[in-house]
């Protein structure tokens, strides 16, 4: 069966867009996790002024829409002479926003670890660093995994906002074709399928990791 020329063009554009989307998602997810771990740890263990700063960061980025953050990065900062390319505006915005949400899960995970775990380690002669590396982090990772995974799924979907700051990825490529042929329903249904596949693959991988790392007593589903 041959695809009609419209669908051939659609699929080849969307595949091109998909690559851009992936190029947006991967560094954003990784950056978001790194920022989330740093900010989350600071929010629990940091000295007061640092903790306040990290709390403020999380509150601001979680309290405002991602699209506002992207607009400020891409359209606003040039008022101060700071210019981002569309791609970098999107990636930086995604990282900062995702990092704020991730920090919330990291913080929750760290706070959920009982004091006794520290006592147990210290009483055996573990140093502070050893306690964190061997006892706290392995537990916190498992506690945070589910929430952080959900945040990654959100980020995959919100990567579609890159198109608003003119970084033409999956949604942007589709919009161009849809407008050109005025066939919104078909085009956006197909795009929807692309995202569903992306999200489903990511969920499957995350579920695999969760199952693999599952330990009785850690309340993961």
């Amino acid at each position: 069966m041959e695809l009609s020329p419209f669908y051939q063009e659609l699929i080849s554009s969307l595949n091109r867009g998909l690559l851009v989307s992936i190029a947006l998602i991967v560094p954003s997810v990784l950056g978001g996790i790194v920022i989330g771990i740093l900010a989350g740890s600071v929010r629990v263990f940091g000295v007061p002024w640092l903790r306040k700063a990290a709390d403020g960061y999380a509150a601001i980025f979680r309290g405002t829409p991602l699209v506002v953050q992207l607009f400020i990065l891409y359209f606003g900062l040039p008022n101060l002479g700071i210019y981002f390319t569309p791609y970098w505006a999107a990636v930086v915005g995604f990282m900062l926003c995702s990092g704020a949400y991730q920090s919330e899960y990291v913080r929750g995970a760290l706070l959920s670890i009982k004091r006794g775990q520290y006592f147990g380690a210290l009483s055996l002669g573990f140093s502070g660093v050893q306690t964190i590396v061997w006892i706290i982090i392995p537990q916190a990772v498992r506690r945070a995994l589910h929430g952080c995974g959900n945040e990654i799924i959100y980020l995959i979907k919100y990567s579609s906002l890159a198109y608003i700051v003119t970084c033409i990825e999956l949604t942007g490529e589709g919009k161009t074709i849809a407008t050109e042929y005025f066939r919104f329903t078909e085009v956006f249904l197909v795009i929807g399928v692309y995202y569903l596949v992306l999200v489903s693959i990511a969920s499957m991988i995350l579920k695999k990791i969760e199952t693999k790392w599952h330990i009785p007593g850690f309340g993961l589903h």
């Binding site: 979680r62 607009f71 400020i72 606003g76 008022n79 979907k157 329903t185 956006f188 929807g192 999200v199």
Partner: protein, 222 residues
Amino acid sequence: MLESLSVIKASLPYLLQGSLLTVGIVIGAMLFGLLLGLAGAVGLVYGNRLVQVVLDFYVWFFRGVPILVLLFLFYFGLFNYLGLNFTAFVSVIIILGMVTGAYQANIFRGAILSLPRGQFKAASALGMSDIQAIVTIILPQVLRISIPAWTNEFSIVLKDSALAFVIGAPEIMGRAQFIASRTYQHLAIYMTAGILYFFLTWIGVSALARLEKKIRIPGYSC
């Protein structure tokens, strides 16, 4: 700097008007989502196989497709295709409502499953029909324990409503974009918009926290 301030001052009433529209969108979508979510959760837990499959698909679809894609799909595509002439405002309420409905269905489903099984049995033992048991015994408890998750959902919908401008709804973001493109004060205007969203989130979250406190019953520590 001065210029930015005067632009902000001049455009603030216009943006505040937009925030009324934002509030309308959020309230509309949350209530629509509440209906869908409650019905969906009841169907997911108590429905027959067919109902469950349909609802599973609904939840999977609306949780897996980006809002932006859904806005384009429904507003420019399906609604047109079906000959439905909804305004952008109504369309956004319906679309965001369907998305949050999918998330809320999951929230309420979890809450129903967390209730002790005895609750339903006790209601049946008193002679209630299944529907009576669900409406008078199960759902009131479910709503109560779901308030924190629902609050979270509210703040997500509020932020998602900022995407309504892509189909031309003149809410905060739509108006901010309009002003910014004319005054070139992008930074100042979008910062102002951000602050408005921040305040709206804060107001809504505090109000819901107050509601939670008000209807607190001993034993529901969630």
